[in-house]
Amino acid sequence: MAVKVQVTSVIQKAVDGQREFDAEGGTVAELIDNIDTRYPGFRGQVADDSGELHRFVNIYLNDEDIRFLGGKDTQVSDGDTISFLPALAGGA
């Protein structure tokens, strides 16, 4: 199941400098596993050692925050877009 993945600058370095790429998986957790297999270290950007998602990185299924859906068990479908969005604090 091909899902489009979008990341912002902070995570870009963990995925070979890409802003957008395809990944496979039926849930957000499976998608993260798939991305981490291809880009080792990616999981650490979005989750802790126990696999719990960081609360300072938001993950969106299309335009909806997955915390308001099924969290990491949120189902994803062909053609969906998953976005990883870490907090930014820059202002100066």
């Binding site: 600058s9 902070v10 300072f56 969005l85 820059g90 202002g91």
Partner: protein, 294 residues
């Protein structure tokens, strides 16, 4: 500044007729039916606090001043550094080592002497935030660290003030508007990242022009709030990628479990935000010209 009745104390009389100089100066706004003479008077009567006079705060304050927003408060404690001048439009080469607040005020008044610039020459902290924020109609966030962002978020919610929020890093920008009771920064990001995990602009860099894009959008949201026009960026998070020049919008919801604005709040007063974020306290630099901070 807003008094206890919610009306304005700006230099010009509230709701008074616009002077001929004001009619001419603001004619490109006044001619638009969404603004008109009444809207221009609303702008003149409004008071807006800008947190920080740097990359975001600069364009925000500049466009507020140009538009004739009557009272512009600025919190800023830093001094102008040469490395600021790649993006911070209120400061010029001759301002290096001056207090940013002084340089910002001089620039704003040079553009529009009709506005009042209120100086808050200190970091905004848990000790002073509730003395400052309640005096303004709207707050704009141009902070450059997580501790200040959570502090300003909490103080605005507790004071019942709308917060126009923006953030930048590298080629990315974010924009949203928090209205009390309709979601807040803690709903968006419940916890701050551990120190060092998300780099700052000083550590990772930032495109100078992205500060102008996001800051101008923040100023636009302030105008919409004051004039009560358009659709505010409430419950919406705009993501800007300057490299692809793509703009995307995400839903931003109030979290019923939010410790500040949720159904059972546990944050009912300001806390120690340095401890919350695990960050060291802000160090206030000493200006090169002693006593120059006013």
């Amino acid at each position: 500044m807003t008094n206890s009745n919610g009306t304005s104390n700006s230099a010009a009389p509230a709701s008074g007729a616009l002077a001929p100089e004001e009619v001419m100066r603001y004619s490109r706004h006044i001619i638009m039916p969404q603004v008109g003479s009444e809207g221009q008077r609303k702008l003149r009567d409004a008071s807006v606090l800008v947190v920080g006079a740097g990359g975001l705060g600069g364009p925000v304050a500049l466009y507020l001043a140009l538009a004739g927003v009557g009272t512009i408060g600025i919190t800023e404690f830093d001094v102008v550094d040469l490395s600021n001048l790649q993006r911070q439009i209120l400061h010029q080469t001759a301002d290096v080592d001056k207090p940013k607040l002084q340089s910002a005020k001089e620039s704003l008044l040079a553009y529009n002497p009709n506005v009042t610039v209120v100086e808050h020459p200190m970091p905004i902290t848990s000790d002073n935030a509730m003395d400052i924020i309640p005096n303004y109609d709207i707050v704009v966030n141009g902070a450059d660290n997580f501790a200040t962002r959570y502090l300003v978020n909490d103080a605005c919610y507790l004071a019942g003030k709308t917060l126009v929020d923006g953030a930048i890093l590298l080629f990315d920008g974010q924009l949203t508007v928090y209205k009390p009771g309709m979601g807040c920064y803690r709903c968006l990001y419940p916890d701050p990242p551990p120190p060092g995990l998300v780099p700052s602009c000083a550590e990772a860099g930032v495109l100078g022009a992205i500060t102008g894009i996001v800051g101008s959008m923040q100023a636009t949201e302030v105008f919409k709030q004051i004039l009560d026009i358009g659709e505010p960026m409430v419950n919406r998070l705009l993501l800007i990628d300057a490299l692809s020049m793509q703009f995307r919008e995400m839903k931003l919801r109030r979290d019923p479990a939010c410790p500040l604005c949720g159904d059972n709040p546990t944050v009912t007063e300001l806390i120690d935000y340095d401890a919350f974020c695990g960050s060291p306290p802000i160090e206030v630099p000493v200006p090169a010209a002693a006593g120059a901070s006013s």
